[in-house]
Symmetry: C2
Subunit: 454 residues, 2 copies
Amino acid sequence: MNPELSREFINELRAIIEAKDDRAALELLQDFHPVDIAELYEELDIEEVKYLYMIIDPEIASDVLAELEEDDRERFLKSLPAELIASQFINHMESDDAADVLANLDEETKQEVLRQIKDVEQAGDIVDLLSYDEDTAGGIMAKELIKVNENWSLTTCLREMRKQAENVDDIFYIYVINDDNILTGIVSLKAMLISSSSTIVKDIFEKEIRYVSSDTAAEEVAQIMDKYDLVVLPVVDSIGRLLGRITIDDIVDFIRDEAEKDYQMASGISSDVETTDSPLRLSRARLPWLIIGLIGGVLVAALISQFESDIKLNPEMAFFIPLIAAMAGNVGIQSSAIIVQGLANNSLGLESTFKKLLKEFTVALMNGIILSVMLFLYNLIMKQGLALTYTVSISLFVVINFAALFGTMIPLLLNRMKLDPALATGPFITTTNDIMGLFVYFLMGRILYDVFVI
Amino acid sequence: MNPELSREFINELRAIIEAKDDRAALELLQDFHPVDIAELYEELDIEEVKYLYMIIDPEIASDVLAELEEDDRERFLKSLPAELIASQFINHMESDDAADVLANLDEETKQEVLRQIKDVEQAGDIVDLLSYDEDTAGGIMAKELIKVNENWSLTTCLREMRKQAENVDDIFYIYVINDDNILTGIVSLKAMLISSSSTIVKDIFEKEIRYVSSDTAAEEVAQIMDKYDLVVLPVVDSIGRLLGRITIDDIVDFIRDEAEKDYQMASGISSDVETTDSPLRLSRARLPWLIIGLIGGVLVAALISQFESDIKLNPEMAFFIPLIAAMAGNVGIQSSAIIVQGLANNSLGLESTFKKLLKEFTVALMNGIILSVMLFLYNLIMKQGLALTYTVSISLFVVINFAALFGTMIPLLLNRMKLDPALATGPFITTTNDIMGLFVYFLMGRILYDVFVI
């Protein structure tokens, strides 16, 4: 949240909008970056937003629109006629942002907007981009880029680049193509700067470059750009013709979203929600996991009911039910979180599954011994009965080892079955470990209480 | 993990290293990117790694070293003499990577390496960078950049830029300074391309640019670059003199690490670990949270022991202990996760704390009613006693509301106390909610069993 966005500021802005004082509004927002203006959306109602977006410069308005959250943008555009969408926004956007905006409109409005676009080449680019799946390289790339022929001299390049530069916001690399529009390499601005103007591109360009095909999954694009520290990545079609480029800013959001998705899954929130969403939406996002948790709890209750007579005889067995359940859950979540992150980052290494389980088992053994001994000493000092003292510590030890193996295996198994390993975290693994852990506990209790009574 | 990195490949590589066949080794690795070579580290022993890094081109070797995990790099460099560290690695690195590497060496080796650096200017840059705290803009910036005076013509710029370009890997923007080395703006390559060569920089440069001071926290740098989609960000000193630049690739790692840190905290893993770490390290990273969980479990046991007589009388009360504890934990984690992410992303909006709590309470009321009714119907159908049926459902409802408020308040409170709000997730909130939830449950049981017995 922008520090300048105080409650007073919003009130002042709303008063100005109410008075329809264009000049005052523009003055108030003059130092605002489009991102900051986009943040105002949450604090204003839709008519106020509409007023603002219409008086500001279309170049800025289109950037603001591109920065809005997807569902906010959809709601906002529904209130506008197609003509206005084209003239105030789409006409001033790069092709990838324009395609993102249009992708969320209904078919009729989309066609209407496309007809209203002045620049036919831009409209063509947008239609091309709309044909790609939005989770692929084609779906996130921009068509605007600077390309030169490998046979040109730097003088020719510079002349052609001047023409192309008008449509491109940022120039990071210049792409090199052959006569068939096949991507053959890049030439860096640095190389152009330090070479004489009669040099032919072919003599100074880099041939070994990374690129992706338009149907590469967005997730893979993110991994490649992240791993190789790339700022832009060219996109080609199936025979290698240059189609567009993906810039890192589109990918940063994706990388963060992926990391957050795992966290949300582990926290039992099923879809992408924020505190600013409506209570109904927030409720719907959480209810599924809670219901799974509830069903798990009912199953656990059914399991414990099998040991009702034991509890009646030795009610102190009930004291440690939460401890056993919680420790099983905690260990399971720790083990699965490490695997889930390793899978997400491709950092699991070459160790075989067996070796991973063995290592996890070693860790569990160490932690299990330490924790069980601690609990044993505590119960001795507190003068709990010997039967209970042994039961709790031995089952804690068994449960920690079970939960660790389980927490490691399940995400690996899910991954092998091409399911999201993060499913293994959250209520699912907690419930399974609860059931297993308490079963061990009560069984151990039945055996050990017999031993100590004899 | 690179798909080419099969077990067979590693065995082949090790055999070649064993035979000290330089040519075969170089051939095997010729298409490898430094990042891919860095990944081999995990699979080889330190002598094998040393052999490889000495035979490959120093330019590549230095990139490989920069890509290694920090603790791997530290271990590796300990085995090398200072002279070799300088000649094979540091001499070929950009200042920010070099400073990162040197920062982890002991004082004596660091001084020795610095003395061995051939380029005095580079050594000076590194010493400058080492003086910054590593979590600040100064600590992550690189000194290499291209800068021009605002009074120069583009012809002069081009001549000067040719000189400067030799030390810079990637050119994204050209920084503009005045005669006092104060940053006054940037000039884009696009503007240079489309302007005539007699133009003065002053006439085409952008004055309104974002920059940070060298003592800005790295976290804030990441937020600014992420929010405004910046690829590079200039760094200035306290009076505005240009010091260096930060590129997005250094920040992407930071953004991902931040998101992952919250996930690890919520999963009860206290430091940055990977599956490839040693069992001892893995064990140490998890034990603290488990011990907190154990202490929590013991406290819960002490609480339940206060209700021993109730359990002896109505052992079926024990059946639903795990359900109440688990639901309290799940709801608490959901609520806190949303707040923690909102704080991390600065997306909490302007709503007051009171409004947030009110909204969270609405969500909890809805979910609480739905879940309690579901459980009530289940217990009716299963013909549980009425006392138990009412006790379980009413306390579930109360517990869900308590846990939601608690899960919302604690991270906000921690944040206000300048502590990491993610501390609120994981075992801490689970345990607190367990205690609160089970207290409500047994208290409710004592009251309702009396009611239904009468």
